[in-house]
Amino acid sequence: MSGHYNLKALIKAIRSCKTLADERAVIQKESAAVRTSFKEEDSFTRYNNIAKLLYIHMLGYPAHFGQIECLKLVASPRFADKRLGYLGIMLLLDENQEVLTLVTNSLKNDMNHSNMYAVGLALCTFANISSEEMSRDLANEIEKLLGSSNTYIRKKAALCALRVIRRVPDLMDHFVSKAKSLLQDRNHGVLLAGITLITEMCELDEKVCDEFRKATGLLVKHLKNLVATGYSAEHDVLGITDPFLQVKILRLLRLLGRGDPASSEIMNDILAQVATNTDSTKNVGNSILYETVLTVLEIEADSGLRVMAINILGKFLTNRDNNIRYVALNTLNKVVSIDTNAVQRHRNTILDCLRDGDISIRRRALELSYALVNESNVRVMIRELLSFLEVADNEFKLGMTTQICLAAERFAPNKRWQIDTVLRVLKLAGNYVREEVLAAFIRLTCHTPELQFYTSQRLYAALSNDLSQESLTLAAVWIIGEFGDVLLQGGTIDDGEEVKQVTDTDIIDLLELVLSSPYTNTLIRQFVLTALSKLSVRFSELSTPQQSHNQDRISDILNRFSSNLELEIQQRSVEFSHLFELANVKGGVLERMPPPEIRATIMGTVSERKPVGSTRTDKDTVVDLIGDDLTSPTNGSSSAASGPSTQDLLADIFGTGGGSDLSGLGSPPPQANGGGQQKSAAADIMSLFDSSPSSGPGPSSNVTSPVTSPIQTSSAGASASGSLFDLVTPSSQSAPAAQQQQQPKTQLQSYTAYEKNGLKISLTPKVSPTQPGVIQILARFQNSSVESVNGVNFQVAVPKTQQLQMQAMSSSDVAAGATETQQMRINAPAGAAIRLRMRISYTKSGQTVTDQQDFAGFPADLTGSK
């Protein structure tokens, strides 16, 4: 069996193959022939065989059996054999292969060869595939060749040295002094290789970098020569002398000038000169300008130079070449955090890039735009971003909606503007909105009562126009459900627009339309069902003309889903329908939700956000009062016992209904209906934070242990699903007492912390079983006197190891006989005792009272140690 005559014949044969299978057959046959031929150890056919084998390798077929033959070829005295042998080694071997160690000796021999081209071949092979071991073995040879009188050898040796220090940084010392002399070289190739080597050294070792700082002046001189030289045929690229060398020098200057004002000073002038004199019409010139900009931005340049650099980037942005714009945007993205103001000047150009034909340029411009938004330009920027959102690629939309809403939250000039912005986002890209953004919007609406009519009106109008935007639908359905009464009552939108009066029938029509829309999914249906249930209560409070008819319609719609295949929907439908039959509890269950806890929207990488609204952390303001020496608690738990008032509290909560009516058999008992005279909001807040419902207190606890009277909470909210069945479970007299003994821990006990001038403050701690270190405390301010207490300011401090968060007080004025509440949360390490230092000030009958007290009356195991 014999193969093709030579490489050319083989290539032709392979090229004439019609199919891949043919090609494979030819190659297999040829490989076999080459293999057989290798066994004959014929040094004349070896060259040919290796050449063929390398071609086969290039096509992606196995050729590793030729490795050893390449080594033999290298040992041949013929230059052509040597050359092909080294090429074979470079192609078939890499630094991770064992055979490579066999090459070391050949390389060593050839590096000492009398023919400079043989030396060149050895250096070239070494520079491309040297392993760590080989680098150690041949470092001395390389060092010697760095001093060669031949430029061809010197430049290759310099790059070999680069390879050595990349593999074994410890060997750097061998080359430092020789590298210095390379900087004096007159040959461009050697100088280029030398500077590359020194750049790598400086990156690897700060000390070496210090040493080379002395050469800054020399580098500046080289650069000056390049810039000043007129035409030089040898290194000219479109009228610029050796741009590659210029770029390398600039890069090394960057390393030398970084964090070193002295050497930065030396290079200031030349950088300015390069920046002004380089021709910016061609890519060559721009590559130099770009490197100059990078250097200026990184060294300790004076401010004029920095502005110049950013202006160059600004000019790049208007360049017609995509590459230049891309590079400019990329660089601006890096510097925007350092020098925002300078970048701001190019804002309009950057915004123009949002409409660029190249998607990667659009993406970079977009990222940069996000970084440019601040308090002063938020209106303009968001307007631009919103108009881009209309035409943006779908892949950008999710990121854009998130960024726009976060920026709006952070820099909004007013609430109205913020709401408008989010509304617009929901309309334009309602299918690309994160849940967190939606939740933040609902939170915002709940906390802006003055704009609830406006918001719900706008959402109603938007939803009537477009049912296809999921997040818009969700937001609208939730808001309309929650604030249906506000929407019906009407109001004014102050920009003189005609407001279309909405009736309850319209709202139900719209929701029904949503249910039947093709865009509707399970989640939307769930929202609609909950909204409808809430609306039935909102409407009943207003007594509209169509009321009874609409109530029937709502319950009809709810009933329609009682056999829905989707379990969650079916459950909601059945439960809500059932709730409808219980007229006396329905109102309480579906009452207005308390505004959710306000917090900044946090997503992914976004870290620094201003809190919106009334969230306060009072820890810092009072903590200096308390220090670490909280020693003498003045108020023991004994003083917390206060029979009558606790019972008042219970009476308040339970309303007129007896405890036995309400106590459930199952775990979560119903929440006591708000009734009339008391603040049901308090109980609502409790229920909001309650993750595990407490067991039902029986009437017995009411009588026998006033000190430990539990405050009852439940998880029954508007959307509660599981617990609703418990509402109708027949009660049993004996169950609650038994249950109470089983789970005494989960009961809530209140402690009196302060009682003066008719104002009593009691604290009710509650520990979540899932987060033992987090304690929710409800403070109740009870005014038992006949005069009102005004301007109550209640401040609390905890030891430094703990963290305290306080919500705003429900009202700072406590009317006679009334009770106000304030919620706070303490994060404490497990087992720590909760000690509070309280400062309270208020005005009563024209007198201002300020008091300070310590409190440590909570049980010691409150924080969950066992």
Binding site: K8, I11, R15, A51, L54, Y55, M58, F79, A80, R83, L84, L87, M90, L91, D94, E95, N96, Y117, C124, A127, N128, Y152, K155, K156, L159, C160, L162, H188, G189, L192, A193, T196, A233, E234, H235, V237, D242, P243, F244, L245, V247, R251, N283, V284, N286, S287, Y290, E291, L294, N322, N323, I324, R325, Y326, V327, G357, D358, I359, S360, I361
Partner: protein, 143 residues
């Protein structure tokens, strides 16, 4: 530094591949395919010549039916590498006198020799066309 250099035609056949970082064979096959799929469909007029690729970036330039791709560190100067590609192509053109794809196929070993005179150890080695061509001529005579 340069991680690898690939020259591919529009069908994705690799005409030249040079690896300055160690990759095993499977990885090389994968990279060739990935680079081709990334570069070939890009628009010549409306897109830049740079693509982010894994942790690095690819600077590429198309000459007739051939893509010259260079994979470089993400903080390297893209524009300068664009020039470097052009320098290499100019040398090829001068050496083969109007280079075409078939030159690269039939004289692939010469192309490697040219490449080794222009780039070494993942860095630009020589920037003067004339110096490179003189060396190559001399090497030819030695054979």
């Amino acid at each position: 530094m340069i991680k690898f250099i690939l020259v591919q035609n529009r069908q994705g056949k690799t005409r030249l591949s040079k690896w300055y970082s160690p990759y095993d064979d499977d990885e090389k096959v994968r990279l060739r395919g990935e680079v081709h799929r990334l570069i070939a469909p890009r628009d010549q007029k409306y897109q830049s010549n740079f693509v982010e690729f894994r942790n690095d970036k690819i600077v590429y330039r198309r000459y007739a039916g051939l893509f010259f791709c260079v994979c470089v560190d993400s903080n390297d100067n893209e524009l300068a590498y664009l020039e470097a590609i052009h320098l290499f192509v100019e040398v090829l053109d001068a050496f083969f006198q109007n280079v075409c794809e078939l030159d690269l196929v039939f004289s692939f070993y010469k192309v490697y020799a040219i490449l080794d005179e222009v780039f070494l150890a993942g860095e630009i080695e020589e920037t003067s066309k004339q110096v490179v061509l003189d060396r190559l001529d001399y090497l030819e005579k030695l054979e």
